[in-house]
């Protein structure tokens, strides 16, 4: 961990998505796309979980 600077090591995607989908400021305006935030979260979470299931399928069976 480096104090002051931001880390060069790759951050975990799940930690990143916590912040990108629930955090961040929401500036309304003439958005060209109007996907609801709850949909952003739902779809991303599904993609994450599906990928984990696919990766562990061989181990669990």
């Amino acid at each position: 961990m480096t104090a002051g600077g931001l880390p060069h090591a790759e951050v975990a995607l799940v930690d990143l998505l916590d912040r990108l989908l629930a955090g961040g400021v929401v500036i309304t305006g003439d958005l060209s796309l109007c996907i609801a935030d709850v949909e952003l979260v739902r779809i991303s979470l599904r993609a994450l979980l599906t990928s984990v299931e696919a990766a562990t399928e061989g181990i669990l069976t």
Binding site: A3, L21, G24, T28, D37, S44, A47
Partner: protein, 281 residues
């Protein structure tokens, strides 16, 4: 008679503006931003307002329609690429100046649309960016790691009754570990606040167990806003609190740009500038 086509030039039809962050106008950070690559490897530029600026990329509008975004999010490879491209721009800028990250996948029709909001919400941006200056976000995740009550591999329950008994024992252990993790989380909150090592806190939803590569159940998923000068004390204090706890695992992540502190907390959102609602209409 020659009639002029009354449609705007193609560029206006095909471009949209993808926004990453808002910052106070700052020559060094703006110069750094122009060197960056953003979503889909596209160049990054600065859109200047009066005293704030937005960091944006021009993107093909058809690659960022609602449907196209939904498809990207639904594919783990595309989702990860989009998230990391977005993050990379923000992380690079956060090492230079205070930034207010935008939520993922904010795409505006044009510069004017975004500039109008920069202007209307200028007060909120200025105040928040001044508060965030000199601070980093740090994540603290606490996992309950119940004492091994499950039979070792290969030792499968022989009957349904064996199975149910094992489940009951396992559940009691689970509840205790869960409570201990929540207690530790509360202790971390209290200690950091009392010692002025964190100026704000947000609690994210615990992460689904399936997403943790390591064993244990995520119970606490907190984010703290830590003055940069207290970075080491923050880490030391948190690690001391976690020392000696049984059945718990604590993980610190960061430093992060202040993603979790960019919006007003949910309970204050109603009283905050109504121009910045928590959700898009």
């Amino acid at each position: 008679m020659i009639s002029e086509p009354d449609t705007p030039p193609p560029a206006d039809l095909t471009d949209a503006v993808y926004a990453y962050a808002v910052l106070l106008r700052n020559e060094a950070a703006e110069r750094a931003a122009r060197e960056l690559r953003g979503v889909d490897g596209l160049p990054v530029r600065i859109l200047r307002g009066a005293d704030t600026a937005a960091v944006v990329s021009d993107v093909p509008a058809d690659a960022f329609t609602e449907e196209a975004i939904a498809q990207r999010l639904d594919d783990i490879t595309d989702l990860e690429r989009l998230a990391r491209d977005h993050h990379q721009v923000i992380a690079a800028l956060a090492s230079q100046t205070a930034v207010l990250p935008l939520r993922l996948a904010r795409v505006y029709l044009d510069d004017d649309s975004l500039l109008r909001r920069l202007h209307v919400d200028a007060g909120y941006f200025r105040t928040t960016l001044n508060q965030l200056e000199g601070h980093d976000e740090w994540g603290v995740k606490i996992y309950a790691h119940p004492p091994t009550t499950t039979p070792p591999p290969g030792d499968r329950p022989r009957s349904g009754r064996d199975y149910l008994r094992a489940r009951r024992t396992s559940r009691d252990g689970h509840d205790l570990a869960h409570q201990a993790a929540a207690d530790l989380g509360a202790r971390v909150d209290r200690t950091l606040a009392e010692a002025n090592l964190a100026t704000d806190v947000r609690h994210h939803r615990p992460q689904p167990a399936a997403l943790s590569a390591k064993p244990g159940e995520n119970v606490v998923n907190a984010a703290y806003l830590v003055p940069r000068k207290h970075t080491r004390s923050f880490q030391d204090r948190v690690e001391v609190l976690a020392t000696g706890t049984v059945g718990l695992r604590l993980e610190i992540t960061g430093p992060w740009a202040p993603y979790s502190f960019a919006s007003p907390p949910p309970e204050q959102a109603e009283r905050a500038d109504p121009a910045i609602p928590q959700t898009t209409p």
